[in-house]
Symmetry: C2
Subunit: 329 residues, 2 copies
DNA sequence: ATGCTGTTGTGAATCGTTTCATAAAAATGT
DNA sequence: ACATTTTTATGAAACGATTCACAACAGCAT
């Protein structure tokens, strides 16, 4: 009469093995149990094809072994890469990942956060551009690329060093007149430091530099206008460009092509992120590579870390240069 | 004395509102309740900032409102796109998505499937190349791009029509001698039908065609060898190529460049998938576009559909042609 | 008033784990 | 052998929501 149609519970296992519930629980959780008991329980588990009900477990423990990733989408390469590595980092620690793609929808973002209060996840790793976002003190939250508040640790690349590196690389490659092209500057976040680093690097290496900064809502075409303003006799004033992201670089490259400016002969271009074609081929342009895997590891590490007081407000991880076809070497 | 440090439960709400537990439960679940009661309960919920504990809910209901997506990774564009749209389709129905990136690790895949038995998710949508994969009858599973068994519905593009469309498009563009380049043919899955469709299209339009098919483990360089074999007097024998995926097309394009074969002047190339640069820019090559959004919708629809018997074994969705720079128009 | 329906609110029992105070058994000392 | 300490197993209670048999009550007819 064992063949109950329902899935077996710990009670069934206990009955099958002829032991108490508590004993089965201990075996499941790897707590010390007499050898003979352990064997009997394990046999029973195998025999009944028993699996713990993680919802019952979760209810009791108040822990879910699940983390939410809040991210605009999984399509843009940088996001896709982050998603992938964070998933892997969580997996390594036997945690599951709930994907919360927000599509830049601020309401959805805030809603996801209330999810934590419903005990669906143990914590959140979030990359969000929502300026309204409020995160209660008691919610374990790690922010990527953006400082939200003193109680929310932020993990990012060393964007200042990245900007500096871009300037230095352009100088090394013989550039004298460079420019920085940037969009989405309104939100105060870590990537904004790329500008300061770049300026710093230009000054150190005695490069003359210009900037074109687009605010939210500005059309990307303004970069085209900017470039045209700096064309004289069919030649561009600049011999080096640093774009705030590879995506911007990609769009700028298309404009340069239309303007018949040769890359990298006439002007060398460096982007930011480390985007690769198909996620695995060569870099789509020369780029400052974000250490995505390290960022992912650090986020997970900090989030799961028990000691809340030891959490640093900001962690910057070192970037590197990735050579693509848009620079000479 | 209301200020218990723990999160409020339904019991606290009942006490605050001065009603019974069952009444609160009804309000939460939108069941009919007297107006005055409803208001009192809703006020109490607001006042206590109460949120249901979904683990307690899940335990009782045996349902989790969560679906697992089993996918090799989220980096390759096609996968990233699928992930994105499936996430959105689930969100629309108020379902959550657990991302299970398997990195082609077959053990991990099978392990994820046992997760369902632990009641972590209500069902699985899976895109897997694991030939060993076994899926118990009682697990709700929808397969993408691969027929696994009669009890597992499969959703895919109409790959046959896609292959045919590629041939017809090449014919329309004036090609006479074409070739099909393909990798990973070992696993019998839906994308394999691209070949049959292409052959069919070539015959219908009287195109002479050749094929180069790489098995698992073969080096991509064999395509290079194939192309070189078909070079005579610096010219390629073919004026049209159909590659099994955009990724293959991308790699082939690099080879053609090295061989100094002009695209699209000397040879026109069509890929498959509909890959866009940065997920949103133009197509990386001319391509047969998979209706990713429709595929996502269909998967979710089928998975959540109650009536198991009405589930079709295979759903093929229509593809379209996407023009990129690798064909003349 | 009394009895009969038809609603609507109530709260004990339940889901499958884990916990922990208690009981039983084993190990140790005298 | 017996008392004492240590180790190990036991199972009732608890976690927080839902269910459902039952109680309470309102409405209506007689």
């Amino acid at each position: 009469m064992r063949t109950k149609s329902t899935t077996p519970t710990i009670k069934d296992v206990a009955a099958e093995a002829g032991v108490a519930l508590g004993t089965v629980s201990k075996v499941i959780n790897g707590l010390p149990v007499g050898e003979s008991y352990r064997i009997r329980v394990e046999d029973a588990i195998r025999k009944l094809d028993y699996h713990v009900n993680s919802y019952a477990q979760g209810m009791k423990a108040g822990k879910t072994h699940t983390v939410a990733l809040l991210i605009p989408n999984t399509q843009e390469p940088y996001f896709a890469r982050l998603t992938y590595h964070i998933n892997l980092a969580l997996l390594k620690r036997n945690y599951r990942m709930l994907l919360c793609s927000t599509d830049y929808n601020q309401a959805a973002e805030q809603e996801y956060i209330t999810m934590v209060q419903q005990n669906k996840v143990d914590g959140i790793i979030g990359l969000t551009y929502n300026p309204e976002l409020t995160i209660a003190e008691n919610i374990p939250f790690i922010s990527i690329d953006r400082s939200i508040g003193p109680h929310v640790p932020c993990v990012a690349s060393d964007n200042f060093a990245g900007g500096q590196m871009a300037a230095e690389k352009l100088a090394d490659l013989g550039c004298r007149h460079v420019a920085f092209l940037r969009i989405g500057s309104s939100l105060s976040n870590e990537p904004n430091k790329r500008k300061a680093g770049f300026e710093n690097g230009c000054l150190a290496r005695d490069l003359s530099y210009d900037m074109k900064i687009l605010e939210d809502g500005d059309s990307i075409d303004e970069f085209n206008d900017f470039l045209m303003e700096h064309m004289h006799d069919g030649r561009l004033d600049f011999d080096g460009l640093f774009c705030v992201t590879d995506h911007v670089a990609f769009q700028v490259l298309k404009m340069l092509q239309k303007l018949k400016v040769q890359v990298p002969e006439d002007v060398q271009v460096i982007g930011f992120d480390g985007t690769r074609a198909f996620g695995k081929e060569e870099y789509v342009c020369s780029t400052i590579v974000q250490p995505t895997e390290d960022i992912a590891e650090m986020c997970v590490e900090l989030l799961l870390q028990e000691n809340l007081t030891a959490k640093p407000p900001l962690v910057c991880l070192p970037v590197s240069y990735g050579h693509g076809w848009t620079t000479r070497e």
